[in-house]
């Protein structure tokens, strides 16, 4: 049972991720873009951040950089949800400080497996 921040500008993706994680017993906080996510992350520590990369207002990469500046989030696992399987996109996330990535499309079960891998 962890507190997870799920960030995606697509409502259906958010719904799917959130529903899946909640079914797995986690607490989920949703945000539709980096800006919103940063605000929510600041107002309460979460255990794991899942973020889309391409988003309006503030993209996932900037969000990760901003999060890593916060003392609370220096070591928090942050995974990017990316459709772009190309290495450079994954690496952009990593360079910003992401822990890892989940490549879209993923099934709910794959999502849980990866989350468990991170949370233990």
């Amino acid at each position: 049972m962890a507190k997870i921040l799920a960030v995606d500008d697509s409502a259906s993706m958010r719904q799917m991720v959130s529903f899946t994680l909640k079914s797995a017993g986690h607490e989920v906080i949703e945000a539709a873009d980096g800006q919103e996510a940063l605000g929510k992350a600041r107002s309460g520590k979460v255990d794991l951040v899942l973020t889309d990369v391409n988003m309006p207002r503030m993209d996932g990469i900037t969000l990760i950089k901003e999060l890593r500046k916060l003392p609370d989030y220096r070591y928090t696992p942050i995974l990017t949800l990316t459709t772009e399987s190309g290495t450079d996109k994954k690496m952009a996330g990593k360079e910003a400080g992401a822990t890892g990535w989940i490549v879209k499309p993923f099934s709910p079960d794959q999502l849980i497996a990866t989350i468990n891998r991170v949370l233990g």
């Binding site: 391409n54 499309p105 079960d109 849980i112």
Partner: protein, 819 residues
């Protein structure tokens, strides 16, 4: 746990359609000027989201298609490809096709493969046109578009899934030849590794899923305590994993830390592996001996057995091992300050007290003894979560496949058929209003409780309360009405695209201006005005705006302007369609009208402009010499006018030759309320829609004529209108049969006029329409009913229906019809 992703379809459809709308709007904005990066980003994002969603939810066709689109857009986004008119056109086509695909998916079907393939080929052809882009397109659809399960994307997640059962089967009988299989991994984190949020413990645990793992700790880099930076991982490890798993499975475990560590993965099988290799069979043969066995054997046994057996084997051995690795693992996320302790569950504490100087533990002075706790610890976490882990881990293989395997997107009925999205503000306003109403109600009931008819103060209060109730009621009504209101931008939004396509087709340069898009009107009215508006805008573009040469020759700017404007006026919404084209040709219209016998040649000259222009609304009237496929055969304008009338609206034309034409449509804001004229006929009250009344007059007997026996016509200026005696239609006894004792209300409906004979005109008021059709049955000549302030029911007259009734030879009255 199996999650049915079809429950997210509706949201996906809705957001995708919205995404397509904004994509279209942004694409339309693209070709008018310099390339706008923000717009391209927005377009890309929309395509990207649809691709992600469609792949996730198993809409393969859509996913493949959007992938190609996205690749093209990506090149534009990164400036590697020019934004050409051709590309924009193709992308717009793609948007149309995607819309169809989503609609098909909503209906549980798919779009014709050939149709999709066609556009997709064109996209690919465009991509291949530039060599740079060729490669990714080829490769990508194949791997990206595969439905979630097969994609095998999160390799690490799948690895354990496949491995866990594998160990189960192979454990009891390890292949002697295969006993050498496994990997030796040297893992040396760089200083910053922990700051990526990665944690060696988790990776080791992953390895544990692959097979039994021996860990050798190298703490040679550990500085003296006072120099230690708690955020730096000083330790390094050599891990030996006994597994059949291929290299990529092992690499997958370290996938996320590539570049954050020194990593060397070598296959087992060298001479120095002899010990552990030898140990294997023993461990298998006698798992019970573990207490005394070498470390390698112990954990061989532990993980060689099924995961379930492992806890038992490990627990008695290392009572502390089980909780320990979990605790640091859990802590690691929250507070990583002590990397060593956190990241190395057992080895760190264990060696530390035993060993004296930290420096002398390089490599393996006593490899058999030292690493012992480590593998045990390693083994422990893996069986520790079996209850939860394998079940979820096994799932991807077992369950993921059915998920995408059913492409039929749950034949869910189009849920949004009759629904509207309402902004929270409106609902809040409504709730607020109801709150007020409750207060007023309680105030009134209190007054009612102790009401004394002679108490003047109480009477004043009652009057105040009633006034307040009236205000609340009106506000509540307005608020409720507003819920059905949508901004007219919903109707306007299709025009940028339409005008663009038409102007390209017609080789005209046209700028479309929109204003007042936030003006609200009733959803039903909006739906019904859509088609007439399309027709009128098409007309403006096709017939109104001249070709560029002609405009230049006339001294006008090359680019014509069509302006759509909307605003509220009184209880109406006014929509104007204005163009700066050639204007209506009075002579041409008149010539046509004379030819059709609509106008007498002699009266043609004096006919005022507005009457002339109104002629274009006559059925079958078209002045277009060349019928184009754009605005059709002129069957439209009369239909347009009729549609607007049916909505209780009006349309007017103003035009000046060479300067342009303005069409003004006036519509009621809602269909639920009507501005009515109350009329009295034989003691009954009827309501005439105000919009249908032309004028009311007192009858001058000199202007009354009898035609062919019974029929009466009345001359209004130079026009003869049939007289309809309402009392006859409804079978009532009028105050007087003599026309001059009553009034004649000249009404217009369906392009025809008639004079309705009534006893008297009463007031005008807004009435709430109650459907007769729903509550009784449709009756010709009557469009509905309403309840008047005194509680009586009044019928609302349908003027067009009444005129038809009156003209019908065997005059069948509503009375007879209803009987």
């Amino acid at each position: 746990m199996s999650i049915d992703v079809s429950q997210f379809y509706q949201t996906f459809f809705e957001e995708s359609l919205e995404g397509l709308d904004s994509m279209e709007a942004a694409l339309l904005g693209l070709d008018t000027g310099a390339v706008d990066l923000d717009a391209i980003h927005a377009i890309f994002r929309a395509a990207h989201s649809i691709k992600g969603g469609s792949a996730t939810f198993g809409f393969t066709q859509m996913a493949e298609f959007t992938h190609v689109m996205e690749t093209l857009l990506d090149e534009m986004r990164e400036g590697r490809r020019e934004v050409t008119q051709e590309a924009v056109n193709l992308l717009l086509n793609s948007v149309d096709l995607l819309r169809e695909m989503i609609e098909a998916a909503q209906a549980g079907t798919t779009v014709d493969e050939a149709q999709v393939g066609e556009v997709q080929r064109r996209l690919e052809a465009m991509l291949h046109g530039e060599a740079a882009a060729a490669a990714p397109v080829e490769a990508a659809p194949a791997e990206d578009a595969t439905p979630p399960a097969q994609a095998g994307e999160p390799p690490a997640a799948e690895a354990p899934a496949a491995e866990t059962p594998a160990t189960d089967e192979e454990g009891p009988a390890p292949d002697p030849a295969g006993a050498t299989t496994g990997w030796r991994i040297v893992f040396r984190p760089y200083e910053h590794l922990l700051r990526t949020g990665n944690d060696p413990v988790r990776m080791f645990r992953e390895l544990g899923f692959l097979g039994e793992t021996e860990v050798t700790l190298d703490d040679s880099r550990l500085p003296p305590f006072e120099d230690m930076d708690p955020e730096v991982p000083y330790l390094a490890w050599t891990l030996v994993v006994h597994t059949d798993a291929p290299r990529d499975r092992v690499e997958a475990v370290f996938e996320w830390v590539e570049g954050d560590c020194e990593l060397d993965i070598q296959p087992l099988g060298g001479a120095d592996e002899a010990t552990s290799v030898a140990a294997d069979p023993h461990g298998e043969a006698a798992p019970e001996e573990t207490p005394e066995a070498t470390a390698a054997e112990a954990e061989t046994a532990a993980s060689g057995e099924t995961p379930k057996a492992a806890p038992e084997a490990a627990a008695p051995d290392e009572p502390a091992a089980e909780p320990a690795p979990e605790a640091p693992a859990a802590e690691a996320h929250d507070e990583p300050p002590a990397p060593q302790a956190a990241s190395v569950p057992e080895p760190a504490p264990a060696p530390a007290p035993e060993s004296t100087p930290a420096a002398e533990r390089p490599a393996a002075p006593a490899p058999a003894a030292q690493p012992a706790p480590a593998p045990a610890a390693q083994a422990a976490p893996s069986p520790a979560p079996p209850s939860s882990q394998p079940s979820t881990q096994a799932a991807p293989t077992a369950k993921a496949s059915p998920t995408p395997a059913k492409p039929k997107p749950a034949a869910r009925p189009k849920g949004d058929a009759g629904s509207i999205r309402v902004s929270i503000d409106k609902v809040d306003a409504l709730i607020n209003m109801v709150g007020e109403l409750v207060i007023t109600q309680s105030m009134l009931s209190q007054i009612g409780d102790d009401f004394d008819a002679f108490d003047l103060a109480a009477f004043e209060k009652l009057k105040d309360g009633l006034a307040q109730l009236e205000r609340n009621t009106r506000e509540l009504q307005e608020s409720v009405m507003r819920i059905r209101m949508l901004p007219i931008s919903f109707a306007f939004s299709r025009f940028p695209r339409m005008v663009r396509d038409l102007s390209q087709k017609l080789n005209k340069k046209i700028e479309l201006r929109l204003s007042g898009e936030s003006t609200e009107l009733d959803k039903t009215v909006m739906e019904k005005i859509g088609d007439p508006l399309v027709h009128l805008v098409r007309n403006s573009v096709d017939h109104g705006i001249e070709p560029p040469e002609e405009r230049l020759a006339a001294g006008k700017p090359e680019t014509g302007v069509v302006h759509l404007n909307a605003y509220h006026q009184g209880g109406n919404i006014v929509i104007e369609i204005e163009d700066d084209g050639r204007g209506l040709d009075r002579d041409k219209i008149l010539a046509k009208a004379v030819e059709r016998g609509l106008v007498q040649p002699e009266e043609a000259a004096q006919l005022p402009d507005e009457r002339v222009f109104d002629l274009i609304f006559e059925p079958g009237f078209s002045t277009a010499e060349q019928v184009s496929d754009v605005s059709g055969r002129g069957v439209g304008m009369d239909v347009v006018k009729r549609n607007i009338r049916e909505l209780g609206g009006t349309i007017e034309i103003a035009s000046r030759p060479g300067e342009g034409t303005t069409l003004t449509i006036r519509l009621p804001l809602t269909l639920a309320i009507l501005d009515g004229q109350l009329v009295q006929v034989g003691g009954e009250t009827y309501i005439l829609p105000l919009v249908s009344i032309v004028e009311s007059l007192q009858v001058d007997p000199n202007h009354l004529n009898q035609v062919a026996g019974q029929a009466e016509v009345y001359q209004v200026r130079d026009e003869f209108v049939p007289v309809v005696r309402l009392h006859q239609v409804f079978g009532l006894t009028p105050r007087s049969e003599r026309l001059e004792d009553g009034l004649l209300v000249i009404v217009e409906g369906d392009g025809q006029r008639a004079g309705l004979f009534v006893d008297d005109l009463l007031g005008q008021q807004q009435v709430v329409i109650k459907s007769l059709e729903c509550n009784y049955k449709p009756v010709q000549g009557i469009s509905g009913a309403t309840i008047l302030g005194d509680g009586t029911v009044a019928l609302i007259l349908d003027v067009a229906g009444l005129i038809r009734l009156a003209k019908a030879p065997g005059l069948r009255t509503p009375r007879e019809a209803a009987a």
